[in-house]
């Protein structure tokens, strides 16, 4: 095996078997597990997916929402065991991969036109390594 294949086999163990399918511009609910003392609690962060970056175990996605008039962005590691469900609430029509232009918009301009298409099933882990 060459070096890249070896790295892939190592990463396979940390990848999720199934990652939920969502696209840039989708409004999602991200369920994160949070440890408070000894108790585990689930916190939901909902907003628009404005970017996806990285590959393999390092794949991240950025969710943006407006809280009390203030823009808040959170970046989640897609394969982290602490990220539970990712529910797609609404899909938006977008024409680019990074929606950083939303940062400059306020009020009604933030809205995205809704896209009505059926969502495909979840992404299965590919055993390419």
């Amino acid at each position: 095996m060459n070096k890249q294949q070896l790295l892939n086999t190592v990463e396979q163990t940390s990848l999720k078997d199934e990652t939920p399918w969502f696209e840039i511009g989708d409004t999602v609910d991200v369920h994160t597990k949070i440890l408070e003392g000894n108790k585990e609690r689930i916190q939901v962060f909902s907003g628009v997916v404005i970017a996806r970056s990285g590959s393999g175990t390092r794949e991240m996605f950025t969710v943006r929402r407006i809280v009390a008039g203030q823009g808040v962005e959170r970046k989640f590691p897609l394969h982290s065991p602490r990220i539970g469900k990712i529910e797609v609430k609404r899909s938006g029509v977008v024409r680019r991969a990074k929606l950083y232009f939303l940062r400059d918009r306020v009020g009604k301009a933030v809205r995205l036109k809704e896209r009505r298409t059926k969502a495909p099933a979840a992404n299965k882990k590919t055993n390419s390594a």
Partner: protein, 237 residues
């Protein structure tokens, strides 16, 4: 011998531990290593185990050559039938044991008594199953002749306020007429990198005997593919 093995850096990646935290790891491919020689107090004046990693490439088109090593690699080979050899055999001097493997590409010694190891045996990553942390020695990436800002993290000088052409220079290097010389050890520009470097006390995250892999937390000296000496750490705590 201390628990040690030879290997190569594969590259860095990120995995998640049991509590869901991301751990930055370096993947090392190590072993299987042949034991090539045992150094003994009596013969060599010290005790050590010599390991070899990776077979040497054979010259192309000469795979049928009976001897695997070229003459220069074999070194000086004693003639068994010679008068001297016969006398030595008669006096009870045994021939050194052979490892019975291809010539090895990367050979290093580990100090200490051999224990149960014998010439020809193989050392694999399974020897590290119980190990908590390792020291990894390699040759750091060469950065050539570098200035003091890159080499010693000097701050350089200001961009303006009268500074001319010396923005990346070191400041003063010493006093004046007394002592009229530089003290030894003043840090200056020079060759940076391409030196033997050890990363100490790296936590061993995972051992994968199937693919001969070791996963250590953090970075390791040298480029991907660089040869490494991996030892159980002697750091306490």
């Amino acid at each position: 011998m201390v628990k040690g093995i030879l290997g190569q850096k594969v590259g860095m990646t990120q995995i998640y531990d049991d509590s869901g935290r991301a751990v930055p790891v370096t993947v090392l491919q190590a072993g299987p290593c042949h034991v090539l020689q045992l150094r003994t107090q009596r013969r060599d004046g010290y005790e050590a185990v010599q390991l070899g990693y990776l077979d040497k490439k054979r010259p192309r088109g000469k795979r049928s050559r009976p001897s695997q090593a070229s003459r220069s690699e074999r070194g000086q080979v004693a003639n068994i039938a010679s008068k001297r050899s016969r006398r030595r055999a008669a006096a009870g001097v045994g021939l050194p044991a052979k490892a019975g493997c291809e010539p090895q590409r990367f050979i290093r010694e580990f100090r200490g008594p051999a224990g149960e190891l014998e010439v020809g045996q193989q050392v694999t990553v399974e020897a590290f199953a119980e190990v908590r942390a390792v020291d990894v020695t390699g040759t750091s990436k060469g950065r050539g002749y570098s200035g003091v800002m890159r080499r010693h993290n000097f701050a350089g000088q200001r961009a303006s306020h009268g500074v001319k052409k010396v923005h990346r220079h070191a400041g003063g290097t010493g006093m004046s007429a007394d002592p009229s010389r530089l003290f030894k050890g003043i840090r200056m520009a020079g060759q940076y990198g391409n030196a033997r470097t050890t990363a100490r006390n790296l936590k061993l995250v995972r051992v994968d005997p199937e693919n001969h892999l070791l996963l250590v937390r953090g970075a390791v000296p040298g480029p991907n593919g660089g040869f490494l000496v991996i030892q159980e750490t002697n750091k306490v705590g």
